[in-house]
Amino acid sequence: MNIKIISEDDYGGLFLKNVIMQLKNKNLVGNISVKGSKPMRPLCNLKLDRILKSFDNSCDKIIIILDSDGPQNLEKRQANIKCHVPDTLKTPVEIILTDYEIEEWICISKNLKWKYSKPSDELKIKEGYIKSSLPKYAVELDFDKLQRNCKSFMAFLYALTP
């Protein structure tokens, strides 16, 4: 299956490509090929519509994976993104929202809690994390833990199923 990804930023896009590679290595997904990715913060402007239209018919599925910055924002963000998916699109689109941000996958894998901060802040404190190193963290994910404890990861895995 050929997919295209829309993520929060370029670092997120490369991270997800690397995650898919790891999932393939562990036989957790089938033959997935990432044909392209584009950063798109949830600015709620028509740029998302334009990106989706240009992606249309060029792959089997488009996966939008963005941050919620807190579970309380999930519904609103979902609606914000949904209204930018053109009705005329022929390619199926899956929208996935993390509870906070994609770094929560890393924190869950490493048993790091982020009760009073964001997952990325927790990683900064504990591991001296910098955003540009996000793609390298794909090899450190614990897929067993993520499958048990992370809704957005499960949704991502589901989206990778044809």
Binding site: D9, D10, Y11, L43, S132, P135, K136
Partner: protein, 449 residues
């Protein structure tokens, strides 16, 4: 190091900036037509740097004289630049007021105002201090709320009459207020009295220099491996000087010069035109023993097969050598984009307190621009970026946009009052933000802008 966050900039009588007040956030993208005044904002910061960092005796030379930088060539007017910072929760305002009339540069007035506490003002060779009595009164009236001891209350009460007036002390005519405050703090003539400790871990001390009496908050800061108490006005002057010193302005980058090998020397800050990138990159490379991740990771996302090494030439100069898929590229064969991206990533790596980039889009592919803007946005640095690029505009949150327009020859800087309303408006119209800006009159109507 205590951090300062620039909240507002005030500029009067500088070129087309007749009377401007600009709110500054973490990321500020300044958009406007040609000659609207975007670059004048950048130049105002360059002028500040010339005055306070380079200590240029006649900083207007580059503009061919004072009459070319002052509003409508009215030489009788002074130029005023004010910066409002947030320093550890304190509002600190620094203002400088200067002229170059008659071919001579001099500073007419400088102010350092720790709002709500104490204000220092230098005019000529005298410095006046004036306390905000609301704070002093509040402490005397409710000492328990500030954890003030009985002794502390007594000292403050006794000094109240002295604190409630302007006290002038003499200083050199050419001395700068921020330097003077530093000098006083460092000279050891400060008399510390710890008289109370606020719940917020802020102490107040009483400082006495002959008849100059100042009561200011002290903040705790970690210095190397020990804690020290330092007065807020000293911290403020130190940080403002540091901000101006480390302020990084690209105006504009000169890629042709970047390609020329540079004299080998240890350089840790980039020049305005980026021409010393080879030297700075070499210094960083030696210091880190490798290409830092903050530079290498984004660079290899744009150029996956690239390697960048500083290289010493046979005649002892330093240049940057790019290797693409193992193939050595010498400067004449190297794309301008390589140099531009490397310079921007190096600037972000250096973490200047404020990074100002004029026309960021030049030489950059839209996808690369997105990566660079993301990297700036995710870093610790405050940034002011001017642009004409729809790509930059469309990937910027509306709350980070500053619109510049010229009205009757004056530049006016505006923030979008209600970004949510604008977003709804754009969706209804089916246009992007940049389309609304470039083709429409989106920000000309009062209810939208």
């Amino acid at each position: 190091m205590v951090k300062a966050f620039l909240k507002k900039v005030f500029i009067k009588n500088f070129k087309s900036l007749h009377d401007c007040e600009i709110d500054i956030g973490k990321l500020n993208v300044v958009v406007g037509a040609n000659a609207s005044g975007k670059s004048n904002l950048v130049e105002a910061f360059r002028l500040l740097k010339k005055i306070y960092v380079e200590k240029d005796g006649f900083p207007f030379l580059e503009w061919w004289g004072y009459n070319n930088v002052v509003w409508q060539r009215k030489e009788e007017l002074p130029i005023i630049i004010g910066l409002l910072f947030d320093i550890e929760g304190y509002e600190v305002y620094f203002e400088t007021n200067f002229t170059g009339t008659g071919g001579r540069f001099h500073i007419l007035r400088e102010v350092l105002d720790i709002r709500g506490y104490v204000k220092f003002e230098k005019k000529g060779d005298g410095i006046a201090t004036k306390h905000d009595m609301t704070f002093i009164d509040a402490v005397i009236e409710k000492p328990q709320e500030y954890n003030v001891s009985a002794e502390g209350k007594m000292i403050i009460n006794k000094q109240k009459s002295n604190l409630n007036k302007e006290v002038k002390i003499g200083w050199g005519l050419d001395a700068r207020l921020l330097d003077i405050i530093q000098e006083i703090e460092e000279s050891g003539i400060v008399d510390y009295f710890d008289i109370w400790e606020k719940k917020s871990a802020i102490k107040i001390y009483y400082e006495k220099i002959e008849d100059w009496e100042i009561l200011v908050p002290v903040i705790h800061r970690k210095k190397d491996d020990y804690q020290e108490d330092i007065s807020i006005h000293s911290v403020a002057s130190e940080i403002i000087l540091f901000t101006l010193n480390k302020l990084l302005i690209f105006y504009p980058l000169n890629i042709r010069l970047m390609k020329i090998p540079q004299a080998l020397r240890r350089e840790e800050s980039l020049k305005e035109d980026g021409s010393n990138i080879a030297s700075v990159y070499h210094t960083i490379y030696l210091k880190e023993g490798k290409i830092p991740e903050q530079i290498y990771n984004p660079l290899t996302m744009v150029f996956p097969k690239i390697d960048v090494r500083p290289h010493i030439t046979d005649d002892g100069r330093v240049m940057i050598k790019f290797l693409e898929d193992g193939l050595e590229l010498l400067p004449p064969n190297t794309s301008d984009g390589f140099y531009k991206i490397l310079t921007l990533l190096t600037a972000i790596y250096l973490k200047p307190p404020l990074l100002i980039i004029d026309e960021i889009e030049n030489s950059l592919h839209p996808s690369t621009l997105e990566l660079i803007l993301d990297t700036i946005g995710l870093g610790d640095t405050q940034a002011i970026i001017t642009t004409h690029s729809p790509v930059v505009v469309d990937m910027t949150d509306l709350s980070n946009i500053i619109l510049v327009d010229k009205e009757h020859g004056e530049s006016k800087f505006k923030r979008i009052k209600d970004p949510e309303k604008i977003k709804e408006f754009l969706i209804k119209k089916g246009i992007t933000f940049s389309e609304g800006w470039i083709y429409g009159d989106l920000f000309k109507t009062e209810q939208q802008a």
